[in-house]
Amino acid sequence: MTESATKKTALYDEHVNLGAKMVPFGGWLMPVQYTSIMEEHQAVRKNVGMFDISHMGQFIVEGKDARAWLNTMLTNNVEKLDVGQGQYTFLLNDKAGIIDDLIAYRIDGTRFLLVVNASRADEDLAWLKKHARGDVKIESRSANFGGVAIQGPRIGELLVNLPERNHIVDLEIDGMPISMARTGYTGEDGVEVFFQNSDASKFWNKVLEKGKELGLKPCGLGSRDTLRLEMCYPLNGSDLSPERNPIEAGLGFFVDLTKPQFIGREILLKTKESGPRERLVPFKMKDKGPPPRPHYSVFQNSERIGEVTSGTLSPSLNWGVGMAYVSTPQAKIGTQIEIEIRGQKFPATIEKKPLYKK
């Protein structure tokens, strides 16, 4: 990305002091790696790693009508959330294209926390505010709040009183009021913790200190991307866009079409009925070779059938993997495809999700 990133998270100085390589991402200067993407990736798969996710947008939606109204704005069914529970969901435009993918947590009877992508936060907020109806107040708390994701199989040795999967609890640690959610973007057990910016450094350093003996590493966006891709979790801006809907992206599970009304519903019903033109599928290269990259063309029998949206060398598999939109008739598990890399075609196979299993 070549955008001009000016925003710094409350943890910026910690990253610089740890020797992180900082890069622009979604309008923020973020650590891409501290020592090595490979090492940080393995720390999360084997022990535990901590990511700064303070760049993500945090909105509070509050009011007597918040629940009913959110249910008309988001694809998943907000009514199904118990207090303290969260769900992955989509915010769609009028054409059912994806504005953002996010997690909505129900904090109490009338209050919700939405955690959204940094690059879409402004757009999300404007869209939500534009459509606000009834007794609903929408507020971004992003300027004052930060967060970290702490992920890996040894999380239970680091933190006690973990909430249940997909649940969020308010806690106090060392006098710091935090919210801790059992959610993540790595495929490992772990939490996402939200705190006030004034507590960010204290919390960060406390976890680093306590995690030392567990092999905890600070982890950057580089490993965040390889970890999520191995699990086939989509990245908005790469795998998702306003031109793609959740059915095409293979994420219909997070869309409740039985709800009477939400933005994009009619178009999604049609897409579901007629079948999408293209589908997002994971694939694995057949041979050792150059890793696939976004925008590489996908071929079958010398016909171009799609385009790669995410690709990398999977650190866990030590093998080239990716995701691509391919035309629906060919978008089947086991289908042989070819990825064009610098004018040469390399064989690959469409796989089942996730690309990496323990």
Binding site: K21, V32, Q33, S36, I37, M38, G222, D225, T226, G289, P290, P291, R293, T312, L313, P315, R342
Partner: protein, 126 residues
């Protein structure tokens, strides 16, 4: 950042070691640090002729693919096959076992266009 005094450099972060009428080429310590973990290297074919600043190799990290350029006009006479099995050599020993290829150069005067260590250091702000 390590910038050995006895090498020449390009703006595009290759290092050049003169060996008679040949040059050995790799990428600098600064470049490998910027690229992050190298996971794949595409080497040029032996006998390939290249002009100065022509892309003749590719170094791929987890994040991205980067072209590597012939520093001057010449013919490829050696390529570092060890990188195919262990691309991480570029990160661990950018100026040593992580070299990329050897070019037989057409005209030694072409080397005058390259940077010395001081100029390269200045370029990378070190």
């Amino acid at each position: 950042m390590n910038v050995p005094d006895d090498l020449l450099y390009t703006e595009s972060h290759e290092w050049i070691k003169r060996e008679g009428d040949k040059i050995r080429v790799g990428i600098t310590d600064h470049a490998q640090a910027e690229l992050t973990d190298v996971v794949f290297v595409e080497l040029p074919k032996i006998d390939r002729q290249a002009n100065a600043k022509e892309a003749i190799a590719v170094v791929e990290s987890v994040k991205a693919a980067s072209d590597i350029y012939a520093p001057v006009k010449g013919t490829v006479v050696e390529a570092n096959k060890a990188l195919e099995a262990d691309p991480g050599l570029i990160n661990r020993e950018p100026f040593g076992q992580g070299w990329l290829f050897v070019l037989k150069i057409d005209n030694p005067d072409d080397l005058k266009n390259l940077k010395d260590a001081a100029a390269y250091k200045k370029q990378i702000g070190g």
